[in-house]
Point group: C2
DNA sequence: GTGCATGCAAACCGTTTGCACAATA
DNA sequence: TATTGTGCAAACGGTTTGCATGCAC
């Protein structure tokens, strides 16, 4: 991994904020000290940082909207391979209370996302031990 | 709210699947019985259904990617107004175990999203009681 | 008959890609 | 010097919008 001024600047911008900036926001930050940087470079750099374990993405559900006719409070199982989302109803999860000290943040809803492999993708990933040799 | 064949079809498609379809997926479903429907109508209908409490969106973070230099496991406070995301470190939340019966789903990570109002937006929404009358 | 919904196409926004040039190692 | 990163601009996919026509009320 080559060290370039752009990569340093992007990484610095990412570490400098307690928030979770979007690529665009990072781009604006970096531009203040490096006006020639391009948005494409910021995107590529963020991906590189992620690959090298120096950054991570917050939300893995951004690709497209997902709708649900189930309006009751529930939580979600999210397959990281096929991106299928399914509901879970679980009283223990429903009972989770927000921590008391949120520094002024006013919570209205607690949602639990359980990432993992759905039954189909799990079967594909571990294709039974006989087939595995 | 007018009842139209398109709206009925979109709502039926949404209720017919246990998954959480994207607008595109709903469009494909509806098209099988109503080939002339347009994707724009599906989008508009989903928004209408949401406004009338007949559907909801699963992930409210899809708008753009969000990066984080904090690689330790942590959870998130998400302001539903300004969309700012902040970390919370909380052992009680870290300790949440996935439910035992996930019907074959293999969990790898549990993430808690606490939606609500950040301190700035909360102050703006409730501008002290003296100002409220 | 009025007003809202539909469907088309273009616009739009966030993201990715291809390529020539420049910088790192 | 060989390789990889940068910056530009175009392409791309998902989403939204404007507008003329059609339908629900």
């Amino acid at each position: 991994m080559k060290v370039t001024p752009q990569r340093l600047a992007v990484y610095a911008a990412l570490m400098a904020t307690p928030e979770h900036p979007s690529p665009e926001e990072i781009y604006q930050t970096v531009r203040t000290t490096m006006p020639t940087v391009s948005l494409a470079t910021v995107y590529k750099t963020l991906e590189t940082l992620e690959q090298h374990g120096l950054a991570s993405q917050v939300a893995r559900l951004h690709v497209s909207k997902r709708y649900d006719a189930n309006l009751e409070p529930h939580h979600h199982l999210i397959c990281t391979v096929c991106r299928k989302i399914s509901d879970i109803r679980n009283e223990a999860l429903d009972a989770i209370a927000p921590p008391a000290d949120l520094s002024g943040f006013v919570p209205t809803e607690v949602n639990v996302q359980i990432f993992g492999l759905c039954i189909s993708c799990a079967a594909r990933a571990t294709p039974t031990e006989e087939n595995n040799g």
